[in-house]
Amino acid sequence: KEMYQSLDFSPPSLSFPRESLKLHSRTENSSKAAFLDHSETLWMRSAAAWRDGGLTGLLNEITNSHPEVPKWLSMSSGCILALLQWVSSFHGSLFPHLTLSSEDMIAEFSQVLNWSDCVVRAFAWHPHTDKFAVALLDDSIKIYNPKSATTPTLKHRLQRNVAVVQWKPLCASALAVGCQNCLLVWHVDPCSLSTRPSAGCAHVLSHPGHAPVTSIAWSPSGSLLVSASPMDTAMMVWDVAAESCVPLQRVGGGGVTFLSWSPDGSHVLASTPSALFRVWETRMWTCERWPCIKGRCQSGCWSPDGSRLLFTVQDEAVIYSLTFTNTPGPHAAVVVADLSETTFSTPDGDIIVGGEIQSLAWDPRGERLAVLLKGDPRAADRSPIIAVFKTRVSPIFELLPCGFVQGEPGAEPRLMQFHPNFRHGALLTVCWSSGRITHVPFYFLSASIPRLGLSGSPTLPHVQERPADFANQSLFTEFIS
């Protein structure tokens, strides 16, 4: 069911076996235990505790050094500490995700299926060229360019547990990386021959309380970057060059988990850990609240013209659709696809497909929609699978089942993304649990002529149909269920 056909452009199919990665088992503050016990004065230790752990660290230090501090001081700091913990546990009971460790939190809210166990943790096509960036389990990022022999590897002291990478539109070199403690923006000179750009090529963007970063989105015009953290109720809008940020805070939700900027630049989807998501309009940065009934918004994607949003909700096997038009008034989300479990009989036997949805991806022309289904880890015959739909946005929205994408036996899809400007249709890149990255092309003639509007969209301008290319090639191997 997987097809691969090389035309004038053949992206490299890569494989990262788990054994080839040099993993390190470092945990936070792990180096501390390797040194001898300290015998500093109380003042020094308090200062160090304040620096490292803030108020809680200081209180802990005072509480734990009984003989040196007066009894009343250690008692009162112990009381304050207990009070703080009580308050934070109360807060945690309101928003249970706050009690997770940062790594678990990234795994929970990532678009990648089973993120913590994944060799390829993040993937991003460049919006204009055929290069892409791959973030690996060993916290390095590799950049592959079919036109160049060098594959730069990006490593940085602060680049740990990469959750998401994205290239800046209308720029050749800037790559934003969201990771455990901060945001990094790398400048990878496309003409440089260096394979290890120095840490000086990366700008660190951080804001107190804004970590771990689980989602980022560049504006299609390349001027702004938004970032989200489940720990922070505010969504940050960064002016990257000026290194300044504007926090956009609203009550409710308890954090921001997933962001998606519409291709025409007019709206941003921001989902929260609670059953609520927001859609921001980007001119005056006001938002619409969309409470969900069941769970949090897990994933979402925009149609190329930015008029329609498809999204999925946790614990539900349906895809919802929302339209954004200029006419004000109440509108509600409608169910456009039901993906509950269905049995298909194939030559190899019956397979059961359906269930909860991990992520959505819509090709830049709006003609193919890929849906990554979680499957059921307990049932052997229900492994994760990618379902593909044919879609049409105008004049009326249409969504027809088209086929499935499966890997080699034993390999599960973990992460997927469409190539932003594949000339002959759509090209879906899938990262597998085996560490392989493959590209699945869908050859078709575009139903509509690509819009050349003022969208600032990175995807549009160069797309031209060349039907002559396919005239005598056998193309359609998709099977329609």
Partner: protein, 614 residues
């Protein structure tokens, strides 16, 4: 008849000129003054809640919470409270007026310590400091009256040993007043050092209320920390010099020093926690109200204003975007017009349509021509400035007579008071003998004090003499300290007004992008070659500039200050915007650009962009 016409022609021209400036003044009053007034009004309206919070915090006692509340109520309704509240309103109005008088959209950047001292000692700044000092004292008096208790009056009756009553000085009242004056004074000094009068424009547009709400926690934090530092400094000063004002007051008002309590300029007297708390809380209150006024002023002033692109009535033509863009003064209107241009080019197809439209009789694209011409001239001006600067640095400061030409025309009426702009590129900031490159005009003042007509401006006479003098003076540590160029300051100063260039680049590139599908008459095509070559030339100049030492070093960001440090990173923002703007045009037009007339060199450069190799 003919002669009459001939005579009246210049007259007409002059009156037209007058009318034009008159119209811009009207617009200025309509827009800017209205906004300033509205911001002050809101600041006054916000005064009662902040005063109430201050009263509660200053009178709060843990042991008697209910008594505190009742005291607060009786306090808030008393006659003195109302009088002091009126005083506070007056102070807020005055602060708002000073903000309006001293604000600038182009920051003044001191290139050396001596230049900074020059700014601090400028008469206009001294007036500002004095006024702030007095206002600080007034606010402190109001807070003393509000706190009541032992702070209420300057004198109190005290009994001598012989039972004879006389008036003694209440030092608690005095220390609060002096504290207020000190905080006001240091606020005004820090305003100069941190460029607090600089008003920056945000890339993210938000409604005023939401922006205010978002900034409020920052203001509270800033005022509390700044008050803490100021009170600490004040206590040190009072400990050493406190006896001077005390004895002076006692002498003039014929008061006696109370013998009972500790004098407050002793360690025992100053280690009074309640006194320190009251000093800090009143300083916080003072700074908070002033910062709120400043914040509101900034928010109101930088709010986007929508100018009409064209008007069907000729009398309104001067209010239209193309006209306002070309005006030199006042600077704020020009900035607002550029901001509006950048926004309309991105967000409103209808207004873009007006830009691309042709004039009704005649069929000329006047709107587009005026807008593109102004934007291109702004960019060309920056290019020229960068090239001139680079040349002087390259020739190691030995250039001859460049300085008079490089006098920046951008200084607005509000920013010309603090002088040492980076007027002469001769200052050679990055010469190899970096130990003492310096502000030459200032040094000349020291070397030849007699012939100075204008204190801080002028041209350099002979580099040789200067060099000798420099070497002589360089041995003195203090002089070196004063005259040493602050690193990257000249780079910052060069890009001080780059917000305008950023908007010009955005406006042009978005309009060109939109023209691909929206421009029915092809008006943009005629200027496309000049736009592209202008951007490419600027790109080259910017690239060369960033190869200089210090130019690409990132400044340290200060977070807990009300001063806006956006100007420190403007050059990076400009570089990024420029690249994005060129890419925006190349991705939109693609291979069509091969049909555009360009020089071979520019074509080569453009090809790099088309292949995404920049």
């Amino acid at each position: 008849m003919l002669r009459l016409l001939h005579l009246s022609a210049p007259l007409l021209a002059r009156s037209a000129l007058k009318r034009k400036s008159f119209m811009s003044i009207i617009l200025f009053f309509l827009v800017i003054c209205w906004r300033a007034a509205a911001s002050i009004a809101w600041a006054v309206l916000l005064l009662p809640p902040s005063t109430a919070i201050f009263v509660i915090l200053s009178k709060f006692s843990v042991l008697h919470p209910i008594q505190t509340i009742s005291e607060c109520f009786s306090m808030l309704t008393s006659a003195t409270a109302i009088f002091s509240f009126i005083l506070l309103c007056g102070v807020i109005i005055m602060v708002g007026f000073l903000n309006f008088e001293y604000y600038t959209v182009i920051p003044t950047i001191a290139c050396s310590k001596i230049a900074l001292f020059g700014q601090l000692l400028h008469p206009r700044q001294l007036v500002n400091s004095l006024v702030h000092c007095i206002m600080g004292m007034i606010v402190a008096w109001c807070s003393a009256v509000t706190i009541g208790f032992r702070y209420e009056t300057l004198g109190h009756p005290c009994a001598q040993t012989d039972g004879y009553h006389q008036m003694c000085l209440n030092e608690y009242h005095l220390i609060l007043l002096l504290g207020g004056a000190f905080v006001g004074f240091s606020h005004s000094l820090l305003g100069v050092i941190h460029n607090m009068n600089y008003v920056s424009f945000h890339t993210v547009q938000q409604y005023k209320y939401l922006r205010f709400k978002g900034c409020l926690p920052l203001v509270v934090k800033c005022s509390a920390t700044q008050a803490l530092y100021s009170v600490r400094n004040f206590i040190v000063v009072y400990y050493f010099l406190g006896y001077i004002p005390r004895t002076w007051i006692c002498k003039t008002l014929n008061l006696h020093l109370g013998s009972s309590a500790h004098p407050l300029d002793s360690i025992a007297g100053l280690l009074d926690l309640s006194l320190l708390y009251h000093l800090w809380i009143s300083a916080t209150f003072l700074l908070f109200t002033w910062y709120i006024t400043l914040l509101l002023f900034r928010i109101f002033l930088t709010e986007g204003y929508s100018f009409p692109v064209q008007s069907s009535f000729t009398e309104d033509a001067d209010h239209c975007l193309p006209k306002v863009l070309t005006e030199k003064q006042p600077m704020i209107l020009k900035f607002l017009a550029l901001q509006d241009l950048a926004l309309l080019s991105q967000h409103s197809p209808l207004r873009r349509c007006e830009v691309f439209s042709l004039s009704q009789p005649g069929g000329h694209p006047h709107n587009w021509n005026a807008i593109s011409k102004e934007c291109l001239s702004l960019l060309a001006d920056l290019t020229q400035r960068l090239v001139a600067y680079h040349d002087t640095v390259a020739t190691n400061g030995r250039a001859k007579s460049l300085s008079s030409g490089s006098e920046r025309k951008t200084s607005s009426e509000t920013s010309d008071f603090m002088s040492p702009r980076p007027t002469s590129p001769l200052t050679a900031p990055f010469t190899p003998d970096l130990d003492s490159p310096f502000m030459s005009p200032a040094l000349r003042r020291l070397a030849a004090p007699v012939e100075q007509g204008s204190p801080w401006y002028g041209t350099v006479q002979s580099p040789h003499i200067m060099r000798r003098v420099k070497n002589f003076l360089a041995k003195r540590v203090l002089i070196v300290y004063l005259f040493n160029k602050l690193p990257e300051a000249s780079s910052q100063a060069l890009f001080a007004d780059s917000q305008a260039h950023i908007w010009a680049l955005e406006g042009l590139s978005y309009l060109v992008q939109a023209s691909f599908s929206e421009d029915q008459f092809g008006v943009v095509q005629t200027t496309l070659p000049s736009i592209l070559s202008c951007m490419l030339v600027l790109q080259e100049a910017v690239d060369r500039h960033f190869k200089l030492p210090h130019a690409s070093s990132k400044p340290v960001r200060s977070t807990s200050s009300m001063g806006d440090s956006t100007y420190k990173t403007l050059r990076f923002a400009l570089r990024a915007t420029l690249k994005t703007a060129i890419y925006r045009i190349t991705t939109t037009f693609g291979d069509h650009l091969n049909a555009v007339q360009l020089s071979a060199e520019h074509r080569k450069r453009l090809q790099q962009f088309l292949e995404y190799k920049e």
